[in-house]
Symmetry: D2
Subunit: 413 residues, 4 copies
C-alpha cells in the first residue's frame, strides 16, 4: 500500500522535455528493476563523447524519453477518436520502455566479441520474457505488441517503424547532448500530426514538410555524428582491443576482468546457454560501460604490447587516422600500410591488422522495404512519403549510401 | 567628439543572438537615420501574424540580425587567411544593413497597388544613393558591393546569393518568431564552414549536410509559413482592398488616408517621378504598416460596400477560404463561384472578382541559375551542392513547384 | 454543426509553448469575437520595443498563453485530488482569457488622456458583461470567479494573485520577446508544485527556491524592462503628446484622427456614458495601437510646434534624456532646465513642461497586503513565502522601491 | 611543424555555447596531455545523475567551457580599454583550464578516504607544477595568476572570486544538463558588464539585477541540486562504502581493485609522498570514476556483508532515506535507529553507523569575507553588491545556512 503511494506521481527530470511523469505502478516497478537500472550505466552513443564531449547520455534516459513521447502520441491519437484502452496504453508504454533492454555496453563494438549469435534484439526478447515471469505475466500484452503479434498493428508501429517514438526521441536527444543543433526535430509537431487509418499509423498531409525534415535531419545525424570518422576510429579501436583480449583469453592469458566480463571473455556463450542456465542473464546484466572501460585502462599496462598499445591509445585519445571514400580501399594499399606498421611498431605482419584495417559503413535515409511512413491525404487516401514528397526523390532517398573507411596510426599517413 | 563616445559600444538586444553590438560610428549613424528607423514600423512578414501570432518582428530587426551574422562571417573568413580590409568590412556591413531598405509596408501586397514599375530592389538603390549623398559619399564602396561592381565578388555573395547572411538570418528569425522550430538552422555552424576559393564564397566539405538541411528547412518555411494558405488568404485580401481603394481613388472618391498614403493612392508614381522630385522619396519613407492598417480599419465603415466588406473581413480575421492544388482552377469553376457570390453579397458580376479569385504561387528549393552554393572538396576543387549532395536530387531540387490557389468567402464552399 | 467541427482541436502556434490547443467551442467563439481579436493589435508592452526591438508581442498572445498555463494548472491540481468540474474549468479559462480585455492601446500612457475615471480593470468588467449578454449568460460563472464571488476562492487566485498564471505567462513571454533571458522562469516547475489547501492555492515546500527566483526575476524584469529609463522616456513622450493633443482638441483645433480616436479625444467620457450609450463600447473597441501611432505620425506635421516636435521626436526615436535617482528632483533644478528649454525650443515657459518634467516610478517585489504566496510545509501547515524563505528578507521584500525620474531633451544635459 | 597546423583552429562541440575554439598551440597541447584528458572520465557532479539523469557532464567539459567564457571576458575587458597582453591572455586561459585539475573521482566523497591531508586545491598545484616542468616553464605566468602572485589582481579574480568564470560556467552547465532551468544565468549579459577599476574586477551598475539573479540562482542550485537530499544520500552511501573498504584494506582483506585504486586504498599517502616519489602523481592521475564505480559493482559480491550490502544498494539505487532539518538530530534518536538497524540487518552495534548516520551541510549565498562582487556606480565609485542591492539584505545574504541530515535505510522510518 505504502509503495503505491510512493509511486504515485513519480517525476524524472529531463533537460530535453522538462519533466517525465510516471503515474503507473507497474511501469514504475519495471523502471526500478536492476535489469532496467543497468541502462543508467550504458551510454546511448558509446564512444561518441570522444568527439562530442556532451554525448554521455544513457540508454536509461533515452528509454524514459521515448516513453514520454509515447504518452504524447497516445493522447493525440485518442483525441482524434482512435481507441486505445488503458491496458493497451500501459502495454505500449512498457514495450517502448524495454525496446532496447538487450543492449550491452558499447554494443556496436561488442556485439561480435562478447556475445556471439546474440543480437541485442534477441537479448531484448530474453530480458522481456524474464521480466514477464518476474511480474507474473503482466508484460504479456507489451510483448505481443513488441513482436507485432497484437491485432492493432499501429501500436507496434508506434514502437517500431520508420517513424516510431524511439527514433523521434533519439534524434532529438542525441542532437541535444551532442550540440548538433541541426539534428533537432520538432517531435511535438510530428506527434500532433499522427493519426490512424486502417490500423496504420499515418501523418496528416500538412505534416509532410516536417517529415521531409525529419528524414534529412536523421541523415545528417548519421553522417555528422553516428558515422563521424573519428567516432568510427574510436569504436573500431575498441573492437580491436576486444578482439585482441579475446584472442589472449582463448590462449588462457590472464587479463584483469570484472567477474561478469570474465564470464563472457573466457567463454563463448550462445543463445542456448542463456536458455539452459538462467543465471547467465543475471551475469550479463552486470556488464556495463564501467566493466569495459576499466579493463581497457588496466590493460594499457598489460605485458602484451599489442593490447597495451591499443588500450593506451584509446585512454589517451590517440585515435586512428581515418580515411573515408566512396570505393573500397585496395588490398595493395592496405598491405603496404601494414608493412610500414610492422616496421614502426615492431609487430608481426599477422598482427598488423590490429593497426591497419578497412571496412564499410552504410546508411540510407529511408527504406522502402521497412514499415513505410504514410501520409494521409485530404481525400482520405494514404501515400508513402517517398511518393508524396515532391522534393525527396524516391531513388535518391532509398539508395543505400556506402562509404569505405581505412584506419591506421596517425603518423603513418 | 561627444557623439563618438556615445556611439561606442552601442548594444541592441536581440532574443535570437543575445546582443548585437555596433562599434562603428558610420553604421550607427545610418541606423539612426529616419530612412532606416522606419523599418521599425514595417513587419518582416506582413500579415503572417494572423496565422502565427508571434510573427510581428520587423525589417529593422532582420537587418540588424543580418549585420550581426555578417560580422561573424567576416571573422571566420579572416581567420582562414582571406583578406578583408576594415574599409571593406564596414562597406559589406552597410550593404547588408541596407539590402532591404526599399521595402514598403506589406510589400508583397503593395508592390502593384501603391508603387508601379518600382520593385523594392529599385527603391533600395534609390534610398542608398540618397543616403550616400547625405553621408558625403561614404557609402560608395557599400553600393559597389551591393551592385556587384566591386572586384572582390565574394563580398557581394555574402550580401546576396543562395547562401547569403540575409537568408541565414531571416530563416532563423522567422522560425524563432513563428515558433516553427523546424525552420531553425544552425547559422553558427554554416558560417564556421565558410571560406573563399578563387574569389567565390564556398562551404567546406564537411558542411554539406548542414547545407542540405538549410535547403530543406528553407523549403519547409516556404510551404509552412511564407506560402501558408491562410497567410495567402490574408495577403490577397489586402491586395483586393488596395485594388478597390485604388479604383475608388481613380474615381476621386474620398478615402480616409494619411498624407503619405494619399500621395501614392491618388497618383501613379513611377521611377521618373522619384528622380524629378526628390521630396517624393521622403514621402514614401513616411509610409509604413500603420498607414495601411489604420486606413483598412477606417475603410471598414466606408459607404462603398465592397471596400467596407473586404476591410471588416480583414480586421475581424474573417479570411477567405483557400483551396490549394497542383493544377490551375478552371474558368468555369471560378465563374460559378462568382455567380454564387453575387447572389450572396449582392454585388455586380464585375465586382465578384474581389471575392472569388485565383492565382499561383511558386517555389523552388534551389536555383541552378542563381549564384550557386559551392562545396569545397578536400582535393581543393569545388562542386555545386546540387551535384555534391548524394541525397538532394538535382532535378527535384531545382524544379519550380507551382501551386494554384482559389480564394472565396468561407460560407461558399 | 459545421462550425463545431471546425472549432474542434483548433491549434495556435506559439514560440513560447509550442502549441496552444483550444478544444472548447465557447472559448473558441470568445476568441473569435471582435472584442477579443482587437487584442491582436495592442502590444503587450507598449513602446518597450523602442529599447527591446523584439518586444512586439500582443495582449492577444499573452491572453492565449495565460490560458495555456491555466490548462496546465488545472491538470496538476486535478491530479492531486482537487475537484475542478468541467464547468469550472471552462469558466476559469474564460476568466483568464478576458482578464485584460479592458486594456486600450498603450494603456499605461493613455489611461489618463483618453479615458478618465475608467481604469482598464473597470473596462474589463464592462466588456465581460457585454460579452456575457452576447453569449446568453454563459460567462456568468467566469465573471463570478473573476470578481472573486465564487465559493472556491482558489480559482480566483489562479486568475489573480501574486502567483497567478497571468504573471507566470507575462514574465516568461516578455523575457522571450525582449531577449532578457534572466527573466525566464520555469512556469512548468512552479505549476507542478501547485496544490490547494483550505481553498487556498499553495506551493509545495520544495518549490520554495523556484518561488524565490520567480520574485527576483519579476523584480529584475521591472527594473530592466518595464521601468527601463529609455522605455519610460518613450512612454512619457507619448503621454505628453496626448496631453498636448487633448489640450488642442479642447480648444477645437483640428487634428488628424480616426473615427474612434476622435470620439475619445474630443469628448470626455466617463463610466456613466458607457452605461447610457452602449455603442460607446463598440467605438472604444475600435481603438488600438494603429489609431494612436498613425496619428502621432501625422501630427508630426501639425502646425502646432509643440505637438509636431514631440511627435517627430517619437517617430524618429529622439527620446528624452532620462535621469533616475532615489530622491525627488528639486523644483529649482526642474525650473532651470525649463528655462533653458524655452530658449532652445522657443516655447513659452508654460509649455516647457512638455519637454522637461519629472515623476516617480514604484515597484515592490512582493506585497504583504495582496493575496500572499503560501508555501505548504511538510507538516501540512502553510506559511507566507516572506516568512518561509530564509533568504528573502521580509522587510526588504515588501518595501516599496521608489525612483524619481527627470526627462528633458538630450542636448540639454 | 605539422602538429602546429593540426592544432590551428581546433574546434570542440559544446551544447551549451555551440562551439569552443582553441587557437593557441600551448593551450591545445595542455588539453591533449593525459593529465587533462583524464578529466573526461570524471563527472563534474559525481553521483548527482542518480537524481538528475542528464547530469553526466565531465570536469573536462566544464574546464573547456570556463575557458570559453574567459575568452569572452578578455574581449570585453580589452574593448573597454583595459590592457591584457597576449601573454597574459594565454596565461589566464591556462589558469582557468587547470583550475580543477587536482580533482579526483567523486572528489567530495573521496577526499577523506583515498587521499588524506590533500585537498584538491593542493593537488591542483602539484599537477600544475609538474605540467610546468613538462612544458619547460611556459606555465609560469599562469601559475602566478592562479596563486594570486601576479601584479594584475583582476586576472586572478577572473579565475577565482565570487564572480569568476568558473562559477559562471558551472552554474550554466549544471543547469543545462540537470534540466533545472531556473539555474540558468545569462553569462553573456554578466560578462558584457565586466570592467576593471583600480585593478579590481567590477560589474557596471546596470548589471546589478543580473548579479542579484546570479546569487539567487546559485543558491537555488545549491539547495535544488548540489545539496539535494537524495544526492546527499547517494554521495554519503559512497563515503560509507569507501570507509568500509578502507577499514577492510587496513586489515589486509583482499578487495577487487584497479592498480591505481590499490595504491591509494592500501596505503595512506600524504603530500610528502607526492614530493618524494614523483611517479605517485602518475598513479593518482590514472584514478577516475571508472576505477571507483567498477569496484563498487564488484564489491557488491564481497563476502563482507556490510560492504556488499552498501555496494548493491548503490548499484541498484536503493538509496538511504534522508531527513533534513534546521537543528542537529539528537544522539538518542540516532542511537535508537542504529539499534533497529542491528536487528534488521544483523550487524554489530559498532557497524550500525554505516547505515544510520548524521551530518550537516552548509551554504551561504554570498560571502563578505571572500573577494567581493563590486558594483561600479555611475559616479565612478564602487560598492559591494551586498550594499548596492536594495533587495538582497546583507545579513540574510551572508548568513551561513546550516541544515542537518540523517540517513538511514528506507524501511526504517
Amino acid at each position: 500500500v505504502e509503495s503505491k503511494q510512493l509511486n504515485k506521481g513519480k517525476i524524472f527530470n529531463d533537460p530535453v522535455y522538462g519533466f517525465i511523469s510516471v503515474n503507473d505502478d507497474l511501469l514504475f516497478d519495471i523502471i526500478e528493476h536492476p535489469y532496467f537500472q543497468r541502462l543508467r550505466r550504458i551510454k546511448q552513443l558509446g564512444l561518441t563523447h570522444m568527439v562530442y564531449p556532451g554525448a554521455l547520455h544513457t540508454r536509461f534516459h533515452h528509454a524514459m524519453g521515448a516513453m514520454f513521447l509515447m504518452g504524447e502520441a497516445i493522447e493525440v491519437l485518442r483525441s482524434k477518436g482512435n481507441e486505445i484502452t488503458d491496458e493497451e496504453a500501459q502495454a505500449v508504454n512498457i514495450a517502448i520502455l524495454l525496446h532496447d533492454i538487450g543492449h550491452g555496453p558499447y554494443s556496436h563494438a561488442l556485439e561480435n566479441c562478447i556475445v556471439y549469435d546474440l543480437s541485442h534484439e534477441l537479448l531484448s526478447r530474453i530480458f522481456m520474457d524474464r521480466l514477464n515471469e518476474h511480474f507474473k505475466g503482466k508484460l504479456h500484452l507489451a510483448i505481443e505488441i513488441f513482436r507485432n503479434k497484437y491485432r492493432k498493428k499501429f501500436l507496434h508501429q508506434l514502437v517500431s517503424s520508420q517513424l516510431d517514438v524511439d527514433r523521434l526521441d533519439y534524434l532529438k536527444r542525441d542532437s541535444f547532448f551532442t550540440g548538433v543543433s541541426e539534428g533537432v526535430i520538432s517531435t511535438e509537431r510530428i506527434i500532433k500530426m499522427m493519426n490512424v487509418v486502417n490500423d496504420n499509423l499515418v501523418i496528416e498531409a500538412k505534416g509532410i514538410y516536417s517529415i521531409e525534415k525529419f528524414i534529412i535531419a536523421r541523415r545528417l545525424m548519421y553522417w555528422q555524428v553516428y558515422l563521424h570518422k573519428t567516432v568510427l576510429a574510436a569504436e573500431y579501436l575498441l573492437v580491436k582491443i576486444l578482439q585482441r583480449a579475446r584472442s589472449l583469453a582463448d590462449k588462457k592469458v590472464k587479463l584483469f576482468c570484472t567477474h561478469a566480463l570474465q564470464e563472457f571473455l573466457y567463454h563463448k556463450h550462445s543463445v542456448l546457454d542463456f536458455e539452459k542456465k538462467p543465471s547467465l542473464l543475471n551475469t550479463f546484466s552486470k556488464l556495463d560501460d564501467y566493466d569495459i572501460f576499466t579493463s581497457v585502462k588496466e590493460w594499457s599496462n598489460h605485458p602484451d604490447l599489442i593490447l597495451s598499445t591499443l588500450c593506451s591509445n584509446l585512454v589517451n585519445r590517440h585515435l586512428f587516422h581515418t580515411e573515408l571514400q566512396n570505393r573500397p580501399f585496395s588490398e595493395k594499399q592496405i598491405g603496404e600500410m601494414r608493412k610500414k606498421v610492422t616496421a614502426k611498431i615492431k609487430c608481426r605482419m599477422s598482427d598488423a591488422s590490429y593497426f591497419v584495417f578497412s571496412g564499410k559503413v552504410e546508411n540510407f535515409a529511408y527504406s522502402i522495404q521497412d514499415a513505410k511512413i504514410n501520409i494521409l491525404l485530404k481525400d482520405g487516401s494514404t501515400l508513402d512519403i517517398a511518393e508524396a514528397s515532391d522534393q525527396l526523390d524516391v531513388s535518391a532517398l532509398t539508395k543505400t549510401v556506402t562509404k569505405y573507411f581505412l584506419c591506421c596510426p596517425k603518423n603513418l599517413f
